[in-house]
Symmetry: C3
Subunit: 134 residues, 3 copies
């Protein structure tokens, strides 16, 4: 299995970071198989959405609606409301799988691979790409 870890800058505010380019570069010499994208963090997820037309910010809005940053959470380490960041990966999983055909990720026209990081306490994140040959 080919596998590689990259470091992604996510800054100090909640962010949806498009990592399609990095994933495509990893896959491009790999033939046919399955791309696995994984974030080894307990407060981040991976989403396949459109970027650049507002949906990346919409996702952050949706997360605030579904998992408010208030004091309802038992987990109380870190910034106020941080407890909800730890629940996020149950809904936006820290992995994704995508078909690769002749080294090209078979994404639809409007799909991008995104790292979802609501947690401003970590300015960088790791992402592991793995390739399962088919």
């Amino acid at each position: 299995m080919h596998t590689e870890v990259i470091t992604v800058r996510t800054g100090t505010r909640p962010v949806v970071r498009d990592i399609t380019r990095e994933a495509a570069a990893f896959a491009e010499d790999k033939g046919d198989g399955l791309l696995h994208v994984f974030v080894p963090h307990a407060t981040a997820g991976v989403a396949i959405i459109e970027t650049g037309a507002g949906s990346d910010d919409d996702l952050l809005t949706a997360i605030d609606g579904v998992l408010p940053t208030d004091d309802r959470w038992r987990h109380r380490h870190g910034s106020p409301g941080h407890g909800r960041d730890h629940v996020l990966p149950a809904f936006v999983a820290p992995y994704a799988t995508l078909p690769v055909i002749s080294g090209r990720i078979a994404l639809g026209t409007w799909q991008s691979i995104c790292l979802v990081d609501p947690n401003g306490d970590n300015a960088t994140r790791q992402v592991r790409f793995s390739f399962l040959p088919g």
Copy 2:
């Protein structure tokens, strides 16, 4: 890797469409391995739920609750509220993975593979099945 794209009719209203039969037909001559189900669309997802006892409609109700079709969304192309359709795949991912044993998808008794399409603007959708031999 065996891979195949089918076209599924989803109509002009939000729908949860059971595609278990199509997936089973794809897998049946494939031996042991992993089935990957993927929709190459930015406003649809794949869910593994029970169908035929109301839960398919319940899922559409739940999506309306979690992601309302109002004017809160920045993405404003298409029908009113369509912006939420673009957030859906972050919560209901556009892929699923399932074990296949001797050509049979190892689903539980009440599980079905479903295409979730809240977007009535597209009457047909594509689904890509891929098989990773184990």
Copy 3:
């Protein structure tokens, strides 16, 4: 493909049950590849979250917020509000995929593999582990 089904006791109340130890035992002699975790049930999911610091209970709270146990659901078998248990797997999928390197699941420090079972009507659940060599 190596595959194995274990039985997990989940009791008669909603529970987030850490199954990392069981998954690690399955993977430890398997080399490099992809671990697939699957629950063959229509009212349970798999989540990768931190356990032991409150987030497991926080997840149950979040599920009650997103999918209330009231009478809005069409699916009306089982206990009151049980209909929402059948919607859960659309949001917390019944599968997860994780990279395995030299027999070790490449989880982050704070990540655990959890069976999420909001349904108190089943005291035990099955989990299928499968390993795809890379």
